[in-house]
């Protein structure tokens, strides 16, 4: 069959980065096409080019065999390409109807005025078709994470697009919701639409996709029928080598207990979290996006408050009031969002490395240039940061080097407990391996490590014990030897339906306020 959409030899530059380099992609009607690659492989950039958000540097896009270039998102929409973006792309203060129709409001053909009535009734129909019990007038800020995601999908459907791009559509969905999504995908397929399906999860790819294309480091690696390939094959194409090299976990002796978390809760984010952490141990935290893992770590580091429970260090309770207190107790935290939280982009490498202990490298509040320099050199060199000098601003570095700066700045505080939130997100494979090696070495040196990750192979490869979180609770714990990917995924996604029912019971008993809100919203 003739392709609807074809991408030939596309290259895209950003200042300082070559994001795409000679990429091919061929999309046919009635086909679910998996776009596969690690974080940072260039998938999101490609999606943004196909939806008119970015322009291309060189190469061509063909629609129905005719060359085309989208100058903005509207042109892509009009050409029949719709995307469900990975980032939160909703308007929380606006209604479901308007979120679906923003950018292509239905208008009265005579007056040109917005036709709210038709938009609402089409929205109602659309939601009904998707089996969603959401009122079209509900403000999006009042919806849960999964509901928001389904509205995003409804939005793409409302465009009646010929090509629907789904960028990690299941990362925040429970098993039942994933089933609903598959149903929708199959409907679309039957109607002759083409679907570009971006996912990290191999079971999904093998369940729903027909064809695949693999990208790596912004380059086209290969393509083929899903039925004719294996998981190992795809992994090899994705990472360029096999798994055991990527996760070099060395055996480390597990020492005495350093940290104990008891019944820690934060309303709306996580509840009743308990676990222990020992010297030289790596604890993996796995779960869906929005399961509450990052929020839990932020609370332990003293950034966010908690509503109940306590944290004990060496058996003594500690106050979780500020990151500074946490640092003084020997806790270090490498956050998930490197560019926003991990690093100060406008400051130099040296200033970034010394920032967490700027008070320690100074005397009576006055900076000590010598001490700053020696600290920077020691840890910057140890981390093998590649740059023209320590005075180079962090925003000119590659993602991998930026992550090395973040690690250097926290290792320089000589932590006893190191919390890593998605430490290899969006960095290249070589640096990724270096980070894994480093974490393994640190554990061998007796540092206790908590590693939050959404990449199952990473969690499986690196952890001594694995905790799985779902909807704010720990739903399973596995020792390294007994960890099984199916069981882990089940704990991360499937547990929730039963869980939710008991929760609602508790809530009605205790919380009048919440019930009142529930009524108001319906």
């Amino acid at each position: 069959m003739d392709p609807i959409l074809e991408v030939k030899d596309i290259t895209k530059y950003f200042p300082g980065i070559k994001a795409l380099d000679g990429v091919h992609l061929c999309i046919r009607p009635g086909e679910v096409h998996a776009l596969i690659g690690e974080n940072g492989a260039g998938k999101s950039t490609l999606v943004k080019i196909l939806t008119g958000v970015y322009s291309i540097t060189s190469g061509q896009v063909f629609l129905d065999n005719r060359p085309i270039e989208f100058r903005n998102a509207i042109e892509a929409q009009e050409a029949g390409i719709a995307a469900i973006h990975q980032e939160a792309s909703m308007f929380p203060e606006l209604s479901v109807t308007e979120n679906i129709y923003m950018g292509h409001h239905l208008r009265n053909s005579k007056t040109g005025m917005i036709d709210w009535k038709s938009m609402k009734s089409s929205t109602r129909e659309l939601l009904k078709k998707m089996d969603l019990a959401i009122h079209p007038d509900t403000l999006v800020k009042n919806l849960g994470v999964a509901q928001r995601h389904m509205v995003e999908i409804a939005k793409a459907l409302s465009l009646d697009a010929r090509v629907v791009i789904m960028d990690e559509p299941t990362s925040a969905l429970t098993l039942r919701e994933v089933e609903d999504l598959y149903k929708i995908v199959r409907q679309l397929k039957k109607a002759g639409k083409a679907i570009i399906f971006i996912s990290h999860k191999f079971d999904e790819i093998f369940e729903i996709c027909d064809y695949f294309t693999v990208l790596r480091d912004g380059k086209y690696i290969g393509e083929g029928n899903v039925a004719d390939t294996t998981v190992n094959n795809i992994i090899r194409m994705m990472v360029g080598r096999s798994l055991d090299q990527l996760f070099p976990k060395a055996e480390a002796e597990v020492g005495k207990r350093v940290l104990e978390v008891r019944g820690l809760s934060q309303i709306g984010y996580f509840k009743d979290i308990s676990f222990t952490l020992n010297q030289g141990e790596i604890l993996g935290f796995f779960g869906l996006v929005g399961a509450g893992r990052s929020e839990l770590m932020r609370t332990i580091f003293g950034i966010d408050p908690h509503s109940a429970g306590q944290v004990l260090l060496d058996g003594k309770p500690i106050a979780l009031t500020s990151p500074k207190k946490a640092m003084q107790q020997g806790i270090a935290f490498v956050p998930e969002d490197r560019q926003m939280q991990g690093i100060v982009l406008g400051l130099s490498i040296a200033k970034n490395i010394t920032l967490p202990q700027i008070d320690a490298v100074s005397r009576a509040g006055v900076l000590n240039a010598g001490r700053e320099r020696s600290l920077t050199e020691e840890y910057g060199t140890a981390m093998e940061i590649r740059a023209a000098g320590w005075q180079v601003d962090a925003d000119t570095l590659s993602g991998g080097n930026q992550q090395k700066v973040v690690l250097a700045k926290w290792l320089a505080t000589r932590p006893r407990i190191l919390i890593l939130d998605e430490p290899t997100k969006g960095i290249d494979v070589a640096t990724k391996a270096a980070v894994h090696k480093l974490v393994s070495d640190l554990a061998a040196d007796g540092i206790a490590v908590i590693m939050v990750s959404s990449e199952l192979p990473e969690v499986l490869g690196m952890s001594d014990r694995i905790f799985v979180m779902s909807e704010g609770r720990i739903t399973a714990e596995f020792a390294r030897a007994e960890a099984d990917s199916d069981e882990i995924m089940k704990a991360a996604t499937g547990h929730s339906i039963q869980q939710r029912e008991t929760n609602e019971g508790e809530m009605e008993a205790g919380m009048m306020e919440a019930v009142m809100m529930e009524e108001e919203k319906g």
Partner: protein, 354 residues
């Protein structure tokens, strides 16, 4: 295995490629953002001196030049903490109203018979209190700085207006007049200029040589990343607002002492002028970039521009227009340079990787 080797080689290549970019961008940054902006301002200042010296015989005169400092010292003092405010991504458009409130408080106390030293203390305390009031709403309640200080702009001046109506305090004790009118010893150097010089050295030291200053830069670049690095972001922002109030209090003492009277509309419109000084000095309005010496040059540049224009008989209103235009141009030029730089970087990169 050869695959892996290949991959690593390519990575090294990429890193080297980006190092080229790093070096040139470092040089560009140094040239464009730091050296050049201040050098440009200084050159402009020299040009201005030469120009006015040629235009007016009264301009280049030691006594006149020193005396002109009376006209900008108060605003110059206010610009110092405003650097910290803007540097950390906030803004304060209530500083002129803080002057009105502090001056009103001093006038009121003077009418009750307070002497010079007490008046100074009252002026500083009211300024500090007003600044803390702003800081509380911005950092404790998380309200936007622009909205809070727009409201307190009316609130603070509104207090002095409500009480003073269309009257004025004009009786100040003799002991109070030195702060705004005095000279150092037997020289013709205004005491106001000395206050500014001392405070500028102090604030410059804090901004560039202490951990406090480093934290302000970090916050201005990214509040979030600063917080994750263990910096008490809101405490520092609060102190910034408190300092801003305190320095407005100092300026209120200087101004009230200099003109010897307090009306509710005292220092009206100074908010814009003070912010202009800071932005013209090269402090980025989006936070995180700039230096104190740059602002000092901007203070001299603008101060003597007004003095010169005054000698040429331009009206005060023309100067207000000029200041407004300078504010906009000072933001437009770096924005324009940034756009050019980004374009050039992209082109260079394409040339490097054909």
């Amino acid at each position: 295995m050869s695959d892996l080797h290949d991959l690593q080689n390519r990575k090294t290549g990429l890193v080297q490629g980006s190092r080229l970019v790093d070096e040139s961008s470092l040089r560009e940054r140094l040239i464009l953002l730091f050296t050049k902006w201040e050098v440009l301002l200084s050159l402009l200042f020299v040009f201005e001196i030469v120009l006015f010296t040629n235009l007016s015989p009264y301009f280049f005169d030691y006594f006149n030049l020193m005396n002109a400092a009376f006209t900008f010292s108060e605003k110059a003092v206010m610009a110092l903490p405003m650097i910290f405010i803007i540097m950390s991504g906030d803004i304060d458009i209530s500083v002129a109203s803080i002057i009105s409130l502090a001056s009103f408080a001093m006038g009121n106390a003077a009418a009750g018979g307070a002497d010079g030293a007490v008046l100074v203390l009252i002026g500083l305390a009211v300024g500090l209190g007003a600044g803390m009031f702003n800081g509380f709403f911005v950092t404790r309640l998380g309200m936007p700085a622009i909205a809070v200080t727009l409201a307190t702009q009316s609130l603070f001046r509104g207090i002095s207006q409500a009480v003073l109506e269309d009257q004025a305090y004009t009786k100040y004790p003799e002991s109070f007049s030195f702060f705004g009118q005095g000279y150092i010893g037997n020289t013709v150097i205004p005491f106001e200029l000395l206050i500014f010089a001392v405070l500028a050295l102090l604030m410059g030291f804090i901004l560039h040589k202490t951990t406090y200053g480093r934290k302000v830069y970090a916050i201005g670049n990214s509040k979030e990343a600063a917080r994750f690095s263990g910096i008490a972001v809101d405490r520092i922002r609060f102190i910034n607002f408190a300092l801003n109030g305190l320095f407005s209090g100092i300026a209120a003492v200087m101004l009230t002492s200099r003109i010897g009277s307090t009306r509710p509309n005292i220092a009206l419109g100074w908010d814009m002028e003070v912010i202009t000084l800071v932005v013209l000095g090269g402090v980025s309005i989006s936070g995180g970039k700039g230096t104190l010496p740059g602002v000092v040059v901007a203070i001299l540049l603008l101060g003597y521009l007004k003095f010169g224009m005054g000698l040429m008989n331009y009206s005060a209103k023309v100067m207000v227009i000029t200041t407004g235009i300078l504010l906009l141009v000072a933001v437009l030029i770096p924005n324009f340079l940034d756009m050019v730089k980004a374009n050039r970087k992209l082109k260079m990169q394409q040339a490097l990787n054909p």
